[in-house]
Every structure is written in structure tokens, then in C-alpha cells.
Symmetry: C2
Subunit: 219 residues, 2 copies
Amino acid sequence: MASPTEENYLKTLFTKADKNGEIAITELSQYLKVSAPTANSMIKNLSQQGLVNYEKYKLLSLTARGKKEAAFIIRKHRLTEMYLVEKMGFGWEMVHEIAEQIEHIDSPRFFDRMDELLGYPKVDPHGSPIPDKNGKITAKTLVKLSDCKVGDTVTLSALANSSEEFLKYLNSKQLQLELKLRVEAIEPFDQNMKIKYLRNRVEILSQMACNKLLVEKQL
Amino acid sequence: MASPTEENYLKTLFTKADKNGEIAITELSQYLKVSAPTANSMIKNLSQQGLVNYEKYKLLSLTARGKKEAAFIIRKHRLTEMYLVEKMGFGWEMVHEIAEQIEHIDSPRFFDRMDELLGYPKVDPHGSPIPDKNGKITAKTLVKLSDCKVGDTVTLSALANSSEEFLKYLNSKQLQLELKLRVEAIEPFDQNMKIKYLRNRVEILSQMACNKLLVEKQL
DNA sequence: ATAATAAGTTAGATTGATCTAAATTATAAT
DNA sequence: ATTATAATTTAGATCAATCTAACTTATTAT
């Protein structure tokens, strides 16, 4: 239905909106690398189609339909990245560029098959949730453990890397998914983190490891 | 470099040209499902870019550069079809539509990786040759099954037609590329062929079908 | 050989996505 | 409160890809 250009607008609206789901048109235009008037006229078009809430001089937001459309595009993008890494052996640095193009392929079967081959992942290795085939997002947005502060209590929810060595490393420290962790201290020099879990177990984790551990923050 | 539209023109010029590498502009426009004037103006553009030989009222042909460009696009298309069938489990009938879109992805690494994962195939699921990463086609001399004699043992290597019905027909008889076939008998009246394959499977194939099956003769 | 038909070309319009320049409205600063 | 600045919108142009209508050239049939 939507052109690749329209899809890019919806995707950016979705991912770059603030906590209220809103974004200014100029900021949007910068993300999309087009001029403000260009974004303005495209937004009018999307508003016409019932995908974007638009009133002159006000902030933009997606309608319910717009959000659903956006979720489908994000699904296609994230599944593609996941597939390129897991099934084709690309590094995470390389996949974005390719996924930016493949996300515009119009073929539900193609993406559903990727999903199946990947085992229906709910989160990509960046910790971003992958919408399911109905456009529903079940996972929360995860953050890297390395981005947490001292005192944060979090739940280990996903891994940004699942190489055998890394899994062994985690095993040796009894680190498992769904485990609650507390950041006790961070070494300023190298960002090593002192983590407490399982009643009273304490470990020092390297910055490299913390970068690959995706966690959900406690309230 | 080339837009998806330009790529489609080059690909069609390459695949639909006659034995002399020529095609009429109207015929081209029909394959591309655009009006003749549309094709005319695009051909002028491609001629300007040095990709197509064009003189008013004459037949069209690709220049050397145009052929090379076309070969790259065909490479992308056929590798994609191959990948979809071999690595993602799609049926032959389904892959064309998806490959029509993926062939326009601009990422040599992506296609080279597919090529590698597939083991550098020289022929796609429909049996058409796949140009290598330099645009070179390792040509094969195939003969029609209908031109074979009783007692010939051959390998099914390509299809001269890949309509959905034909692919379904072949599927229903478990006829796949790379299968070894033996011509058991030929009916003098209608040239129907009795073919043995897969240990002891025997089928009678119509002259029409045998005409579309391209095979490599055993030495 | 000439007329009829088919193929190819030109002219001019349209649509989607983009731009720059200029005008308007909102926000921030003194 | 007024002014300066920033954000947004309007106006009008451009470019690629497409169309239809009309015209020209080539081919075919009588």
C-alpha cells in the first residue's frame, strides 16, 4: 500500500517520537534528510490517509492505524537484521544498511518465513522489540546493562550476542535470563561493573560483557 | 547507480532480445507493461548513458556496458530465487515475485554472501545460468529433451518455460533440476516420451513438455 | 505502386517526491 | 511587551516515470 518513502516517514515517526508519541516536523525532516517543506507536504498526505494526526503548527503523532502500519515496517526491518546476523553471518555493523532496503519488500510470506526460521524472536540483539505478525509488540524496550547506573535493579532479558563462548561465560557465572541484578559499583577507569544477584553472589563484569546483556529496568 | 526502473529495462532487454541481441521497442514496452512512448523516452535516457544502442526506428540492443549491467541484475535475481528455494524452503512457483523486488537491492556484499552460502551455483532453480560476480556467464549447451533419442541418459538442467502451471506439472511428477533421466521409448505418432528416473519411476511426457525441458547429455 | 496498417516518435499533461525562496506563526530573550 | 529567532507553511519550480492524443515513418497487402 504505502510507498517506500511513506514507509520511511511512518517508521521514523514511530521510532523517534517522544514519550507522548509526538515529534516536531523539523526534527522529523532532519532524520529523514529532507527539507522541512518536503516533510510538510508528505505529512499532509499521510494525514489525508488517516495515518498521522496533523494540525497546523502542532506536533505530529501517529494515529492507531499509522502505528499499526509502522509496526509492520519495523517488524520487517528488525527481522531482516536478525536474519542477516543469525542466518547469513553478517556483523551487526553491516546489517542496518541492507535492512533499510529489504524492509520495503512487499511480501508477508517472506518475512513470516524469516520469523519462523528465527524461532519467533521478540527482541532483536539491540534490545529493540520485534512486532509479531499482527503488529503487536509484546516485549519492552530493553537497555544495555552497560547503560545502567549504580543502584539500578534490573532483570536480565536478552542477549545481544549468543556466541558459544559468551554463553559459556554466562553459565560459569550462573547468569541466566530473567535473573534480577543490582548494579553495586562501576569502575570509572574501564566501566567494569560490580553486579550482585542470586541472594549474595557478586561478580565483576567487563564493559564488553555488559554491552551484550540486555536488561529491563525495575520501576 | 541505475534506478529500479532502469534495471528492469536492462534486464528485459537482455532476456527478451532475439538471437542477434535485438528487440523492437513496442515488444519491450509490452513486457514492461508501459506505453510505447514511455519506453521510448526511457530508451533515449539509457542510450544517453551508453547502455543501449538506439537509432530512430531501428531495433534496440544493449551496448557492452549495458550487457554487463544487465548481467549483474540477472545475477541478483537468480541468486535470490536460488536462495529462497534452497535456504528458505519456498517452492519454485513462489519465488519469482519476491526475487523481482529483491533484485533491486543495492548491496554487492549481500548477494556475494548468498552466492557463497549457496556454493557458487551456475544455474538458478529454473535452470537459467547465474552470472558470476564479474558478470560473466559460464555458458552451457543444453538440448531439448524432445531432441533426444531412445536410450539417451541425460541430466535435467534448465526449463525453457517457467509458467506456474508448468512448474506445478513438474512438481507433481517429482521432476527436479539435476535429476538424471533415461529415454525409454518415443511414441512415433505423437512423440510422447517414456522417461525413467528416480530409481524406477516411469512417466509418459507429452511432446509439449519435452520441448520445454532442457537437458545436458551424458558423455 | 499505392493505400492500409502497424510501429515508432513527438508534444504536452500528470503524479510523487523533492527543492529554494518567501511568508507566516510560535517561542524565547531582553 | 516588543523584538529577535526559530519553526512551520505556502508558493512555485524541477525531475523521473508515467500517460493519451496526434503525427511520422516503415511495412504489408492488394
